[in-house]
């Protein structure tokens, strides 16, 4: 790690070293520091890429007030794992592609990565991914949550998302009749 490389040296050297540093330090809402490779951060997060390019990265920990330490740990973990993973052969399209689906299925490690998370941790991570503009992580986490919704009744989904049903009985009935094809149990 080269975090401490610049510290305690002459200002000029420090600046040069800072530019040379290949990690960035991120600070969670509860003040914990995390380190992540600059290259991975810039590649996976549009927000961090913008901050790095704009020079607004704080050497002592860039404040991310919206992200708790657990979520940030997962973000950093994801960045590190992503850096180490090799794209699977399935993702490299053949010369003639019939598959035009814009969404790439999560890879094995990505699936495992989100599967081990608790419900709350997953929801915090999806918010963090959205906040940091991490498109792929957002894809993977949203995909996971949408899979969790499958086969669930509206009541069960309300519970998962903590949604209050603000329809009157009549309004609900009207919707169910209008869109009868979408409801199994009418």
């Amino acid at each position: 790690m080269e975090v401490d490389k610049g510290k305690g040296e002459a200002e000029e050297t420090r600046k040069v070293a800072e530019a040379d540093r290949d990690t960035v330090t991120l600070k969670s809402s509860d003040g914990k520091l995390f380190e992540v490779s600059k290259e991975a951060a810039a590649r996976l997060s549009t927000v961090l890429a913008g901050m790095i390019a704009g020079g607004s990265i704080d050497d002592n920990g860039t404040d991310l007030k919206q992200i708790g330490s657990e979520a940030l740990e997962n973000v950093v973990d994801y960045c590190n794992k992503h850096a180490n993973s090799i794209p699977s052969a399935a993702l490299i399209s053949s010369s003639i592609s019939f598959n035009t689906a814009p969404f790439k299925e999560p890879e094995e490690w990505e699936r495992k990565f989100v599967d081990r998370l608790s419900h709350d941790a997953l929801f915090d991570l999806v918010e963090a991914a959205n906040f940091l503009g991490m498109e792929r992580l957002l894809d993977v986490t949203c995909h996971k949550i949408s899979e969790m919704m499958k086969g669930k009744s509206p009541d069960q989904i309300r519970e998962v998302f903590n949604i209050k049903n603000d329809y009157t009985k009549e309004e609900l009935e009207e919707i169910r009749q209008e869109l009868a094809w979408a409801f199994y149990d009418d």
Binding site: F123, D124, N130, C142, H143, N162, I163
Partner: protein, 477 residues
């Protein structure tokens, strides 16, 4: 409590009903990780999650709360939903439109009304044991309107001839009646609507039109093409084309494909670039109707040596030979040019031929690995006439509202209706509407059960070829 907080936010974000759509960024307060209120996600994330659900599940989510109803009905959601390609319908399935003219008196020559019934056989939209129609459309304004093509879950109906004014119907059968149908009138000269397409880069829907340059006594018609951007203007395209405009249309991946059987080429219209490319068919001999396989245009051809094959057009417009159909003994032969449908059931192909003569065998099951084919001599009463149905190749249910396609702002308000008659008139007309609808349902019942039978057959494949053979014998005995 988060719930009431959420509600306040809704009120705050929307102001009043009819405000310019979609709340954004309902951020929850800064959190300290896991101790925050569970399940309060911002709208960006919610849309992103819901857009990955199959259309049916997403529609069901409109019943969660008024806020979710608005989110799911927003144009933003529709765009994201079609981009994320929410899981396509389970295979095997057949999306089709069953059509029946409606007459009020026996012996009446011209129908007064028409009944279009949209179904997905095997689409999992089952209720009470029978595949329920997602939606039907009936009324005089849909008379003479035929199925043209479908794009992003929206079905295009139009006259198969030149007309002035040129009208067409955009219909999303998955959306509630009031918002599911939009009539579009193309301004200007005599046009025929050829197809509907969507340009993913320009995020616009466009109609491909055809203008006749016909001269009297001329066998070949000359025509030129034009484009009408929905919610925008029409543009004439350069270049003349030859042919009888007996075209078949298919939309796939930002391109409208037009097949002209007699001239032996396919025109590809890139919706974003508004460019036309002419693609030669792999053979100039016998060619089937334009079909779909693996989400791409597909045709069956018979080349000069008499061998038959299925070819698929790749995204970069190369014909790829997918399946070769081995030479068959006389009793299992079929005609390429009457082939209207093909389904790939894991290495066993189901081919449907819509013969001009009623006694032509209609259904073929072909095992690619063994090269064996058997044909099902379906009783002529069983298979529908080609005028009674249209297969909607490439249909995926979406929540795209036709109103938003033509630039009307979708307010997504619960209980809102467009073009509604006063309640007393609706009530007075109700018995006639009901009777017409019943007549329509009765008239399409054969088509519907035929399609269900096809799906039953496909579900038994690829393993149960023998099973299917026995069943078909039972059916036709």
């Amino acid at each position: 409590m988060e719930n009431s907080a959420g509600k306040d936010n809704i009120a705050e974000d929307h102001g009043e009903v009819g405000g310019p759509v979609v709340p954004r960024k309902r951020k929850r307060a800064a959190t300290d990780g896991a101790t925050s209120g569970p399940g309060l996600l911002c709208d960006d994330v919610l849309i992103n999650i819901f857009a990955r659900l199959p259309a049916r599940a997403a529609v069901a989510c409109t019943s969660l709360s008024k806020h979710h109803h608005r989110l799911i009905r927003s144009p933003e959601f529709a765009i994201l939903h079609s981009r994320l390609g929410a899981p396509p319908l389970p295979r095997p399935h057949i999306a089709y439109l069953a059509t029946a003219p409606i007459k009020r008196r026996p012996g009446q020559k011209k129908p007064v009304n028409v009944f279009h019934d949209f179904h997905v056989a095997g689409g999992g939209l089952r209720r009470g044991g029978a595949a329920a129609p997602m939606r039907s459309l009936s009324g005089w304004r849909y008379l003479e309107m035929s199925y043209i093509n479908t794009c992003n879950g929206v079905v295009l109906l139009a006259k198969k001839e030149f007309s002035r004014p040129c009208r067409c119907i955009l219909w999303n059968p998955a959306v509630a009646d009031g918002d599911g149908v939009e009539e579009v009138t193309v301004p200007g000269r005599d046009y025929q609507v050829l197809g509907l397409g969507y340009g993913p880069r320009s995020e616009t829907y466009k109609l491909l039109l055809c203008r006749s340059d016909r001269r009297r006594g001329c066998y070949h018609n000359e025509y030129s093409l034009a484009i009408c951007s929905l919610g925008g203007s029409s543009v004439e395209l350069d270049g003349k084309h030859d042919g009888n405009i007996r075209l078949q249309m298919l939309y796939a991946d930002g391109t409208i494909y037009l097949a002209e059987r007699e001239t032996r080429w396919i025109l590809a219209f890139d919706v974003d670039d508004e460019a036309i490319t002419s693609i030669d068919l792999p053979t100039r001999r016998y060619v089937s109707n334009l079909m779909e396989l693996s989400g791409r245009p597909c045709i069956a051809v018979e080349d000069d040596s008499g061998s038959k094959a299925l070819w698929v057009l790749s995204v970069d417009h190369q014909w790829v030979k997918r399946y070769l159909i081995a030479e068959q003994p006389v009793e299992a032969r079929f005609y390429i040019f009457s082939l209207t449908a093909v389904w790939d059931c894991g290495g066993v192909l189901v081919l449907y031929s819509d013969g001009i003569r009623d006694d032509v065998d209609k259904l073929f099951v072909y095992n690619v690995a063994t090269g064996k084919m058997f044909k099902a001599a379906l009783h002529r009463d069983m298979a529908p006439d080609s005028s009674e149905y249209a297969i909607c190749w490439g249909y995926t249910p979406t929540l795209v509202s036709p109103g938003s396609m033509v630039g009307k702002v979708d307010q997504g308000v619960v209980g809102r209706r467009r073009r509604e008659l006063p309640a007393d008139m609706v009530k007075a007309l109700q018995p006639v509407v009901e009777r017409d609808r019943k007549q329509g349902h009765d008239a399409t019942v054969d088509t519907v059960s035929f399609m269900d039978v096809l799906v039953c057959i496909m579900r038994r494949l690829p393993d149960g070829v023998q099973d299917v053979q026995d069943l078909v014998e039972l059916l036709t005995a």
